[in-house]
Structure formats: structure tokens, C-alpha cells
Amino acid sequence: MFAHAALCTASLVMLYPLLWMLASSFRDNADIFTSLSLIPAKFDLAAYARGWRGLHTGFGRFFINSTVISLLAVIGNLLSCSLAAFAVTRLKFRGRDLCFAMMLGTMMIPYQVTLIPQYILFLHLDWVGTILPLVVPKFLAVDAFFIFLMVQFFRGIPKELDEAAVMDGCSAWRIYWNIMLPLSLPVLGTVGVFTFIFAWDDFFGPLIYLTDVEQFTVQLGLRGFLDAGGTSDWAAMFAMAVLTLVPVLLLFVFFQRSLIQGIATTGLK
């Protein structure tokens, strides 16, 4: 009983700022700085309307942009990482083990080292100011960590399955697409959900690569409220902040098991 009381209090204290932000998104600006309560006096959606209209560009635009970038990132990671994982677990070719070792090696390289030359490269390709620098790398399997996760899973799928398929004259592509991928839905789900959340929350990438407000993601859009200067519209900002958290929360609710397991076994955020 004592443990429950302590845990309830602790989780309430921890979640209090988030709940307070939710409550404040229904308040007007004056009340935000005077009310500590978690229950707003009235459910006023005015701040949502103001925030959605935005300063220059509507917030709906940012939502579309973020959704497009995140979904493309998911597709890219699922395809490219599974192709690489399939090659190193199921195919035989010269240099296979070396390739796998190099994949593991890239997990150790922090992005700061590749950041500046990548930026210069994208600048020369005329990609700065487009979403390409945020999306194309995902199709080139740069998140070695996810390859590793898939390799672990593929190794658990019995080899007899694809050996039988080879006997029946299946090509490697058919085996990859018709046998391995359908059997790998759990790991594809985990990688997809983590990729979506990471891409959705990414601030640094959009910050340096997106230059036109029309292309901004929700994270850059939120920051726009702060830059407006001393007269920040806190209620509208909180309202939009709450909205940007909704997709992540929904994914958590639906994929809680695989997310928790992903963290427990691999240390992902």
C-alpha cells in the first residue's frame, strides 16, 4: 500500500507539467501565469484556433510536412535496412562478413562527424532547402542500428523455409519479399515506430536543411512561437505543442509492448 501511494505521488509529480500544459492549452494567456490547477475553468478552444492559423503559415501545413517526412523515413528505413539485413543473414557472397562488420562499426560513429561534409555534399547537390537531405539517407540504410535489430530477428527465422523455396526455384527477391518480410512483421513494426518517432521529433535536421517556412516541420513551427519575441502567445503555443505530442502518444498506446521491449533489449530511447 505504501509503495502504491509513493508511486502514485511520484508519477503525478512527474506528469504534472505535462498535464498542466494540457490544461493551459484551454486557458487564455493571462490565466496561464496565475493558475496551477490541472483543470481549466472552461474548455476554450480559442488557443487551438489561433495556433492552427499560425503566424504566417498555418500549423496544418507543418503537420502535413512532418507527416510526409516521417512516413518517407519509415518506408526508407524499412526497405533499405531489411534489404541489407537479408543480404548478410541469408545470402552468400564474397565480403559478406566484412560488410556486416562495417555495419556494426558505423553504429559507433556519432552524427556530428559526418554532419558537416554531408551538409556540404547536399549543398552542392542543391538539396538544402528541400526535404531530400532528411529523407534520402533513410533509403540508404544509414541507421545501422536498425539493420542490426533486423539481423537479430532474421537469424531466428528457420533457414529451412528459404532453402525449400530455393528448391522450388524461388529467386532471392521472391524469398525476401514473399517469405522473409511477412514473417518479420514484429521487427518491422518496432523499427517503423521508432523511425517515425525519431523523424517526427527531429529538430536538428530540419533546423539546418529546411529554409522555407512552407516546408517547416511541426518542431520548427513550435519554435516559431518562441521567436515571436516578448509577446509570446503561450496558450496557442501550448495548444500546438499538445497536438505535436498526439501522434507519438498514439503510437505509444498502440505499440507499447514492442516499444518497451525494444528499449529493454537494445537501449533505444
Partner: protein, 290 residues
């Protein structure tokens, strides 16, 4: 097995990414770190000048390193301490474990977003949530985010608040410890406190080691919260100038790409050194036998 040629086709995307976006750029940034390059004029070879400046002539960088180390040294132990404490309470066979686990994990899940960073800025501002709460008990607090003496602690608090993901890993580790070990120990008269020091902690050292390395590396690389809370400046008076924020300013504020590349390599070396130290000392304190 299958036709050997297919393997190379399957690996083509990774291959392009590895050479074009990882290995190539990593080597390029090493070369770039010996040049001066502003993106307009071609890169100019300057030898070790960038590194000399880093070591001898950049007081702002020195401040940035100090702030970053302070952040790492404060946030990581507190974060892991909370994570372990809560994990141990949850591991005592409590009903509703998965609900509590989800609630404690929420800040970690949402913490990387700008939404939480802007919330944090309000909570610790001059007339923000914490200020109001402290007024209720008669304390007139300063504006934490705009006071150079306090600003860094708001970032530490933000990091510690996100103890959920190491907690989940601790919890997974605690469940591996067989119950009968504790039963045997309590039959021998070991008290709770002794059980913790003699059984739980030693058996948990592999997990602790993992959490320590991952969280330390993450702390070195923290960027978004400092950027949002300081409005991109690292202020007030450089008190939240994380290393990554300084690197960002040098690269994308002043376009000193060569210098920024040198800073990036220094960060990698620092992270490598910390990780190597952890692994080298691991033999003495990490117990891998169950």
C-alpha cells in the same frame, strides 16, 4: 545457396549510404578539420591551426566544455539513481506494474520534442509554473532560465526527469536475478540494505554499465533542450552553451566549417575516450557471471 550476384544488389543501398554518407564524410571531415572553409571560397589548408586554436585561444569553447562536463557529471548519476530506485520499487511484484512503467516512461518518450522544451522554458521562467508554486510556500524565486547561475540546472532537471528509458532497462535486468538468491540471503540473515549492496548491485552491474555508457554518450550529444531554452544562443552569458550548440553556431552561424569539423572530431575523441575508459575499468567492477 542463392546466386552470389544477388547479394551485391541487396546491399547496394547500404553500400551507397556507407561510402557516400558515412565513411566518405567521416574522412572528409578529418581533412576539413585542417582547413579554413566558409562555403564560398575554396577550402584553404591551415595545418593544425584549428586544433591549436581549440587548445589555446578559444575561451568561449573552454566555457562550453566546462558547461557540458558539468551537465554530464550532474545529469547522468541522478538520472541513473532515480531510474534504479524506481525500478527496484516496481520490481517488488507490484500490481499495475505496466501502468506505472508506462507513466514513468512518458517523459522519456516525449522529452526529445520541442513541445517539452518550450514547456520547460515556461515552467522555469520568471513568472512560470515553478515560480508560482514556490510563491504559495512563500519563496520568491528568480527566473531560473534567465539566471546564468541556475540555467544549466534546469537542463539537468529536464534530463533527470527523463529517467524512464534507463529505468526500463534496469527493470529488465532486475527480473533476471533469481528470487531464490534473495531467499537464501535472508535465511542467512542478510538485511535489505546488505542484500542491495551484496546481491542486487553486483548482479546488476552489466546493466548499470550499459546504461552508464549510453546515457553518458547521450548527454555529451544533447542539443535541442539547450537550443530551445536559450533561444539558440547558449545564454544567458554562455551558461547553457552545450558543446553541440557551440559546434552548431560555429558551423551554421559563422560558417567556419573547418573549425567546426575539428570540434566534431574532438567530440568524437572525447566520447571514444570515455567509452574506452568505461570498458577498460569494467573488468574491475562489472560482474558478468550470474
Amino acid at each position: 545457396m542463392m546466386r552470389p550476384a544477388a547479394g551485391h544488389w541487396f546491399l547496394l543501398p547500404w553500400f551507397l549510404g556507407f561510402f557516400g554518407l558515412t565513411l566518405g564524410p567521416a574522412l572528409a571531415s578529418l581533412v576539413l578539420s585542417f582547413t579554413a572553409y566558409d562555403l564560398i571560397e575554396p577550402p584553404r589548408w591551415v595545418g593544425v591551426a584549428n586544433y591549436v586554436r581549440i587548445v589555446t585561444a578559444d575561451s568561449k569553447l573552454a566555457e562550453s566544455v566546462r558547461i557540458t562536463l558539468l551537465y554530464v557529471v550532474l545529469s547522468v548519476p541522478f538520472k541513473l539513481g532515480f531510474a534504479l530506485a524506481v525500478a527496484m520499487v516496481l520490481n517488488r511484484g507490484i500490481a499495475g506494474l505496466s501502468v506505472y512503467r508506462a507513466l514513468f516512461y512518458l517523459p522519456s518518450l516525449l522529452g526529445a520534442s520541442v513541445a517539452v522544451a518550450v514547456l520547460w522554458r515556461q515552467v522555469f521562467s520568471g513568472d512560470g509554473l515553478l515560480h508560482q508554486a514556490l510563491l504559495l510556500v512563500g519563496i520568491h524565486s528568480p527566473s531560473f532560465v534567465s539566471d546564468p547561475d541556475y540555467a544549466i540546472y534546469t537542463l539537468v532537471a529536464l534530463s533527470v526527469w527523463q529517467f524512464g528509458s534507463p529505468m526500463i532497462i534496469f527493470l529488465a535486468g532486475l527480473r533476471q536475478i533469481p528470487r531464490d538468491v534473495y531467499e537464501a540471503a535472508s535465511l542467512d540473515g542478510a538485511r535489505r540494505f546488505q542484500q542491495f549492496w551484496r546481491i542486487t548491485l553486483p548482479l546488476l552491474t552489466p546493466v548499470l554499465f550499459f546504461n552508464l555508457v549510453v546515457q553518458t554518450i547521450d548527454a555529451f550529444k544533447a542539443f535541442t533542450p539547450a537550443f530551445i531554452i536559450s533561444g539558440g544562443t547558449g545564454g544567458p552569458i554562455n551558461s547553457t552553451l552545450f558543446y553541440t550548440l557551440y559546434l552548431y553556431q560555429e558551423a551554421f552561424g559563422y560558417f567556419r566549417m573547418g573549425y567546426a569539423a575539428a570540434l566534431a572530431w574532438l567530440l568524437v575523441l572525447a566520447i571514444a575516450a570515455v567509452t574506452a575508459t568505461a570498458f577498460l575499468t569494467a573488468r574491475r567492477w562489472v560482474h558478468y557471471e550470474a
